[in-house]
Amino acid sequence: MTGINWVALIILIILFAVVTVMGFQAARWRRSGDLDSLHEWGLGGKSFGTITTWFLLGGDLYTAYTFIAVPAAMWATGAVSGFFAVPYTVVLYPIIFFFLGRMWSVAHRHGYVTTADIVQGRYGTRSLSLAVAITGILATMPYIALQLVGIQAVLEVTGLGGSSVLAADLPLLIAFAVLAAYTYSSGLRAPAMIAFVKDGLIYLVIAVAVVYLPIKLGGWGGIFDAAQAKMATPSPANPQMPTGVFIPGAAAHWAYASLALGSALALFMYPHCVTATLSSKDRGTGRRNAAILPAYSLLLGLLALLGYVAIKAGTKPIGLDGTPNPQLVIPQLFEDQFPSWFAGIAFGAIAIGALVPAAIMSIAAANLFTRNIYKAYLKQDATDAQEAKVSKIVSLITKFGALLFVLLLDRQNALNFQLLGGVWILQTFPAIVFGLFTRWFHRWALLAGWAAGMIYGTVIAYGYCTACTTRPFGNSLAVVPVLGKAGYIGLTAFVVNIAVVILVTALLRAARVSNGTDLTQQSDYFADLGDPGVERVVTESRPIH
């Protein structure tokens, strides 16, 4: 890489500027609502229809994870570390179809805004909802970190930054500053507005890339052959082992399936996905989206294969510090294969595609803190304006947390950030989702299961570092006890969690220990817009604690 690619950089900056202006304008979109209330700033007024929700969900589901991390993993080590994202997004929608409607209904009957609210309403147990809230905030940080890595990769390929210690992190710091400034100003309405622009750009870029590049490089057959050849060569780090996996053999089947299933179960536990779901205007919106969101999954699959395209094209993702960095492979592919102006558009699409979800994530984590920690424990009589202010500050703190993850952990395998968040967030699944269907599970059992899963997952994930540098949390696969094969740590911890939940529930029910106060009733889980008690706009001031 020599110097700065000025054309690409200028187009990137123009696109960024357009998006930022739109972000500020978004504050005035649809309603001249009062952004000083958490409800307006954080949920966009809960009035989004199927199409807006589709863009919004797409905006937070398909992120730098899709554009940078998955293709990078495909380029570096092949199918098991990257292509599992396709079955992940395939099984995701049937899974959420089961519980999204119930979640929407109970949230709208009772004015719940977060998963911790839902757990609080079902069990009336503050320690359990606190556990859910803290886990949500913690798990969001590495996911935002992944977005920062994505923006950084684009800026680095355009040539910003340098090899000195300070300059090397310059792209990262710019990415962070842009994100923070624009989220702070206009809340959730900004990302929903920008999601339209972002998806337009992304579809344009992808359509050109997946049609033009394979033709230019001699067709998909040759691309797959090149990938197969690369995966079979001995690994530079460990010559005993091949570089990667082209088609997983029997030993890797469980790793592949468990990464897909674990990621799918985890996704809708993240605060930002819940925010997007609850901001839809009726019960069916989420389910209609389950049928149309897969359009993004196809995109994800084709993007993943761009990692193989880069192998065929001989892309050399060398960072500004002179060492190879797989995360740069997609921006580098675009810079090598396309004229500068188109590379600039692609960079803009990728950067905005990371910016939007990062904004949504930090807002959602902030909502969680404000509702379930600040208002529940610190200041119960907080006014709307105070809540909105605290939310804005916490969203900033969350981004700092994400920055720490980027600086302290291994950036070479950014996909792992998302999987690490998944290890944690998956442990809230029993408390949130099981409760939507039944009150059989005991509140203290759910808390014990959560603790067991968190401890097991964190300890195992911290210690296993085989395919990475010496930094902690380097790998998300570990040998599953009993099964004896490698599997996703998050899913193993989830099984530990459920085992503890069932065992302790049986004991506590036998001992007739109180299972808390249930504020909900059965019909709450089926209510729809127009039913008694379901308001189009949930009143934020209704107390939940």
Binding site: F98, I247, G249, H253, D518, Q521
Partner: protein, 109 residues
């Protein structure tokens, strides 16, 4: 054991004002069918041994890759079918019980 504050039985009580025949809070045959359809869409794409091979190829894509991309469309179709089945069940119920129809927004209370 009953709920201390409301006196409702533990596990979330039923509202006596609601029609117990409403399919929304009953396990109907349609719901079993939908559950089976969705479970197929969850389990089958995860059966890696059924597709861990390169042949037959399709437009240069090894079987392993195009088969999974094909499931994107199959799963979307199955979700759409499930949505339609549930919607049909609800519509059938509302034809018989027009008084249960949700009131237009504005006079929800």
């Amino acid at each position: 054991m009953s709920n201390a504050r409301t006196g409702r039985p533990e596990g979330g009580g039923r509202d006596p004002n609601l029609d117990p025949t409403d399919p929304r809070w009953r396990l109907t045959p349609t719901k079993y069918i939908v559950a089976v359809i969705l479970l197929i869409a969850i389990v089958v794409p995860l059966l890696v041994p059924t597709y861990d091979q390169a042949e037959p190829r399709f437009f240069g894509f090894p079987f392993f890759y195009w088969y999974q991309l094909a499931w994107v469309f199959i799963a979307a179709g199955l979700c759409g079918l499930s949505y339609w089945l549930l919607k049909r069940e609800r519509a059938a119920y509302l034809r018989v019980h027009p008084e249960q129809r949700p009131r237009p927004k504005g006079d929800a209370r």
